[in-house]
Symmetry: C2
Subunit: 359 residues, 2 copies
DNA sequence: TTGTAAGCGTTATCAT
DNA sequence: ATGATAACGCTTACAA
């Protein structure tokens, strides 16, 4: 009912104020407020009401300075604006929160310097654990960055998610797309496609390697032959997808189907094809990784290879908590899922272009 | 070259260790490490090399416990997975980082309880400022939540972004869509559309109110009359967009054009229309708020009313820093931008359905 | 320029 | 069950 009059009333109410208001010692107040068992119902009542009355907010810095735990973890992803990662971030955050952990989301922006910057900040803040989508090894040295090494040798519980770093012994939650690509290739092949192009990611990303190698295996499994001339190496960004789209149209092998390794590249490519009048689904069959909105509302809808990001986030938090508890979790693989949509079914063996679209 | 042998080497190197390794007092070490002017070149050299040698990472808790500043701000958004907000988050983060501030991104999940939870955590962590997309007033009491009131009376620098709260005196960076909607309506009208439907957002969001009222004004400006029967009240989520899509098809007024107040609803709607065979761009003209990928790759591309989120983020951080510096910034409005795309141009006055699609 | 020491708000230890 | 007090790692008067 009463109004707090002071304008510049900085919230300076400490546990000391609560204690004296409740007529007990700070020790007792602390015990009550942090749920310590050794407290009498009487003091519990007094302290709790005093705390509420005064609007007491414990100072997290002070608390964790003393207790050496912060009840927080950090999640480092490559790009907040990529729906794949924002879905992952959301999942990690939800599961962490359920475990009483606050999540700091950091954005590497596909940039090693920003990655290191964020890691340094998190180390300073003494987070209790780290979930990292690693940006890959240094181009020249072929080693993890200095900051990453510091993280790894610091003993702070860490797990990788989505990607892994070769030769780095950290539990990783990754996806296995072998089965999904097998299905995808088999589907395309059964529709008569012989020349299937692949737009892959940068070689520093383990996901890019895994996807391409699974693709090669899938070709072999289906009696098709891999052809480097049908492999475009992109960088997981829309601009490289646009380049890939043109590359495809000019490809002498005239591929009639294409598999794209992530949604941003697919978006870049789809835009180009639409502008050039290539009808996806009839002129060209397209399958892409990442089941995002844009693929679902496309007409016809694009067939996708998707991941249960919610599950991936859950597994990541779970694994991290095991590490935090001193256990050593096994690396786990999530099975990617292929979802067939009309776009593929309607693409029966049409050779791309047939002279009509090619410039 | 040398390998750190200890497996459980928890990073316990403090400023004390640095000081003794450098042969100076902790005070001197602290001064060097935090760039205090009163330091000799000699001790600077010694301390810096010692710190590097030992891999010293200052403990952020201890530092800010003493200095009462955390060099961090919190950003509370409605939904990380909505590209609109993840773009905004990215912009805020980039500008804050440029100002030496770490950004904690929190997700209200369009839920007042999660909003309050996050705010409490941030208050505990003593962030130096808050950028908030407010979730609206309590349905019943018509008041801000208790936690929000606590934030407002705490004196901690706060600004609102995207949305505002009526009668709450906090500087807000919002968007003004009057001009964009004027253009949009004029364009539709010049194409012959008379019955333009509007799919709006929930009334607790100030953006929903602003957009609808600007739409009404735009109708009037263009000599059209507003009609409540053409107004669908959604909740900014895909599911309500799907409902709106069906509502449109069954609407007795047979609207031939529709404006949707956000991208998630538009996505829900577009999916339904595609499934029902409604050809957007010829059977129906669609304009939507939020310039996201899905609208750009749609065939035909969807006309949008977009915002420069990067600019909005910049203005938000700027305004926040002014408040932190003790100034009182004026509320600012960003002008929304209408981008015409073929989807509208190709929609010439076709009455939706014409019997053929209606169930 | 440097060192000594107090103090930030908690929790943990040790008596009682 | 409770209270006094040390301690967490750092910054900052205050002295020297």
């Amino acid at each position: 009912m009463s109004k707090q009059g002071s304008l510049l009333a900085m919230n300076a109410v400490t546990i000391k104020d609560v204690a004296s208001a409740a007529g007990v010692s700070v020790a007792t107040a602390s015990r009550v407020l942090s749920g310590h068992p050794a407290t009498s119902p009487d003091s519990r009542a007094k302290v709790e009401s005093a705390a509420k009355e005064l609007g007491f907010m414990p100072n997290a810095q002070a608390r964790s300075l003393r207790s050496t735990k912060t009840d927080s973890i950090a999640l480092l992803i490559s790009d907040v604006r990529n729906p794949y990662f924002s879905d992952l971030a959301h999942a990690v955050e939800q599961h962490a929160r359920a475990a009483g952990l606050m999540t700091f989301i950091g954005n590497a922006n596909e940039d090693a310097a920003q990655q290191d910057d964020f890691l340094a900040t998190m180390l300073s803040r003494r987070v209790d654990g780290l979930v990292i989508v690693p940006q890959g090894l240094n181009e020249e040295s072929n080693q993890p960055s200095e900051m990453m090494n510091r993280v790894l040798s610091s003993g702070i519980p860490t797990i990788f998610v989505d990607r892994a770093l070769p030769s780095v012994q950290v539990p990783a939650i990754t996806a296995n797309s072998a089965q999904a690509l097998d299905e995808a290739v088999a589907t395309l092949q059964s529709l008569g496609h012989q020349n299937i192009a692949f737009v892959g990611g940068p070689k520093h990303a383990s996901t890019a390697l895994e996807r391409y190698s699974a693709f090669e295996t899938a070709l072999a499994n289906n009696g098709l032959h891999a052809d480097e001339a049908l492999h475009f190496v992109g960088d997981f960004q829309p601009a490289s997808g646009a380049l890939a789209a043109k590359w495809l149209l000019e490809n002498p092998a005239k591929p009639s189907a294409i598999i794209v390794a992530d949604a941003p590249m697919a978006i870049g490519a789809l835009r180009v094809w639409r502008e050039l009048g290539v009808r996806v689904g009839s002129d060209l069959s397209v399958i892409t990784f990442d089941e995002v909105d844009a693929m679902l509302i496309h007409d016809p809808p694009i067939a996708t290879i998707g991941h249960d990001l919610s599950q991936m986030g859950k597994m990541a938090v779970q694994a991290l908590r095991e590490v935090m508890a001193g256990q050593k979790p096994e690396p786990e693989e999530l099975i990617s899922k292929f979802t067939l949509r009309p776009s593929v079914a309607s693409a029966k063996a049409t050779q791309v272009m047939e002279g009509k679209v090619r410039p």
